[in-house]
């Protein structure tokens, strides 16, 4: 199984760019890297997914180096509403056994 390591918590001021890095040394060749966001009292929500280089959508950017052993989720100009837990997931196994770690708790400060 591809295990992931990410910081347990981060603080950021409103308006700043936030980068959360996840390491996944044993990622399989066919695995994509997926990030989810979870607000209190809600289920996780898909944010972004990528295989290599850079992916950008309306919410975030995802940077993946050539060796794919890590990935960085970038949130531009965070607001208080971005306070949440962010999970980095590579799937694993022959089918997607979607396993969540403890995630990174991002606290945005006014």
């Amino acid at each position: 199984l591809a295990k992931t390591t990410q910081p347990i918590s981060m603080d950021s001021y409103e308006g700043q760019e936030v980068n959360i890095t996840c390491s996944h040394n044993n990622i399989a060749t066919n695995d994509y890297i997926t990030w989810y966001q979870q607000f209190p009292s809600q289920g996780p929500r898909f944010i972004i997914q990528g295989y290599k280089t850079k992916v950008t959508n309306e919410v975030a950017s995802l940077f993946i180096p050539a060796d794919r052993k890590s990935s960085t989720l970038s949130l531009p100009r965070v607001s208080l509403s971005d306070t949440a837990v962010y999970y980095c997931l590579p799937p694993s196994g022959g089918y997607q056994k979607v396993t969540f770690g403890i995630g990174t708790k991002l606290q945005v400060i006014p």
């Binding site: 066919n30 695995d31 994509y32 997926t34 989810y36 009292s41 809600q42 289920g43 996780p44 929500r45 898909f46 997914q49 837990v85 999970y87 799937p91 089918y95 997607q96 056994k97 979607v98 396993t99 969540f100 770690g101 403890i102 995630g103």
Partner: protein
């Protein structure tokens, strides 16, 4: 697009009682997941269905937990008898394709269970 529906939203029971949770996935989604999320932890996969067949239940405590997916659509998760350590949020998710590889999961809001 309608999301994943779960009920009830909250449930309080005493230990040794039984409880059931219901999930209606997004229409057309082949794969359905049940997760348990204990406060302060990430979601833990309990069981995964492809259509109405089980593909993974390795972390399901089968002595007390059971789940079924009716006709490959709705699903129920049951706990009987409940223990104090079962207090958690039970999340249902679904994804589109049968194999679920690299798929995007859509989650419901969960059922918060308190066992007293």
């Amino acid at each position: 697009e309608a999301g994943v529906a779960q009920s009830p939203r909250y449930k309080i029971i005493e230990k040794r009682q039984s409880v059931a949770f219901w999930c209606n996935p997004i229409s057309g989604h082949a794969t359905l997941y049940w997760y348990q999320q204990i406060l302060g932890q990430g979601p833990k996969l309990l069981i995964q269905f492809q259509n109405n067949g089980v593909v993974d239940d390795s972390q399901l405590p089968k002595d007390r937990f059971s789940a079924e997916r009716l006709k490959g659509v709705d699903s129920t998760l049951k706990i009987q008898p409940a223990k104090l350590e079962d207090s958690a949020v039970y999340l249902c998710a679904s994804s589109l394709t049968p194999d679920g590889i690299n798929e995007k999961l859509f989650f419901g809001s969960g059922t918060q269970l308190s066992v007293l």
